[in-house]
Subunit: 136 residues, 4 copies
């Protein structure tokens, strides 16, 4: 499996409370992992949700598509990758995969669509933000 | 917005701990709501995950596609609907929407793909299960 | 088991995602149930955290003591009760129990201590709030 | 604040989805942190819940007492400590504190009581387990 060629990576360990009766990570928790990796990525780029919010700009998730390939279990280690592209004028699409450590087995493939919202309406992300993200 | 024509409906109230810093329900929690509604639906049809599991059959989510249309906030009431169709020989697709109560505002549109798995391999869902689900 | 003599009651059904590998509700989720019941109680008394917060007053949990008597399982129905008393000048103590439906089996006994905080310091809860809570 | 003299320590970073509307970590999530630290500790001692369960022994939480001293916020780093003692013949008590990194500010003080259960009844923990835990 190809797990190279990503912009950013965050490492995790499965916590027992994230697992359900079947002994595997509950599906919704993968969305938590993906979100935490994106937020760590934004922090690494010097981008703060809260500063953006203060300036009246919110980055919101408008769509998630997640393919579940193989389950994670208690104590498994894994990493979440991030790639990113603009889609049209308004949207940014994150492609994110989850791989188990150390065998790099593909666990989840995801595509997360983000929009910038100002006063309740979608707007083109500000030039500064696009630069910070390296999306010019 | 059209919110009629569903097989099943479950009602909920947002709990404060499901909301995040922005004051709206965290995206992953909608997946919990959708899952709980599906499980309530299966229970209503007399289908038990645990009995199926004992017989060696697991129903697993292989894909979720969720469009976030409008956020829910603390104390909002809402309902989750279920429709269902077969896709090919192996998969069952649930289409699920979330509407706010009482104004029926569309909150989320989702498409959840389920596969039946036996001994680690996808199989056609057993005839009995298809009958119980009303999918003949 | 004595389950009468409470000020308020909220009913719940266990959701599968709240259960862990042992097939029982994860311990932290009982704290969610207790919290949701308290918030529903406050709403029933016309008390809003957010209005209080706007006036500079926050009600915060300073201590929880929870005894786990018997576990809840998938699909169990249960209710959470609330009683309440002042402790000293500054604190309010909620005593909350969880009982399974329909057999009233005692599941959890809890004691939750709340303090009113203004500008980062504990203060006596305002007279109006004490009246709304029926604690005069 | 004294944060030395513990048997074990696990480091964490707050994830945004763990925070609630007030911008601080939701109270129930501290219980998750404490649990994950205990499980990591048991793993470090070569103790497996699942192996114990297979042998008919379950370690269950019978009581939690948590004092909330100061809130954690988005992106805060922190560590959870573990100390441990027997209480009577049947119970093991974990004392666990949470400290913010890097200023070692005390966030949470907790006391978690565990019992060993066999066939639904409390039993003295097996000698091997007591040895593995270093509690002789």
């Amino acid at each position: 499996m190809q797990e190279t060629g990503y912009l950013f990576r965050t490492d995790f360990t499965v916590r027992d409370y994230e697992c359900d009766i079947q002994g595997v990570v509950n599906n919704a928790n993968y969305q938590h992992y993906l979100e935490h990796a994106r937020h760590q990525f934004l922090v690494s780029k010097g981008i703060s949700f809260y500063d953006l919010h203060e300036e009246g700009l919110d980055l919101i998730v408008t769509k998630v598509e997640i393919e579940y390939k193989y389950p994670l279990r208690s104590c498994d280690r894994f990493f979440v990758t991030i790639n990113m592209a603009r889609e049209g004028n308004v949207r940014i699409v994150f492609t994110q995969d989850i791989f188990r450590i150390p065998d790099n087995k593909l666990i989840v493939k995801a595509r997360i669509t983000i929009a910038a919202i100002k006063s309740g309406r979608p707007v083109a992300p500000p030039v500064d933000l696009i630069k910070q993200l390296g999306l010019e």
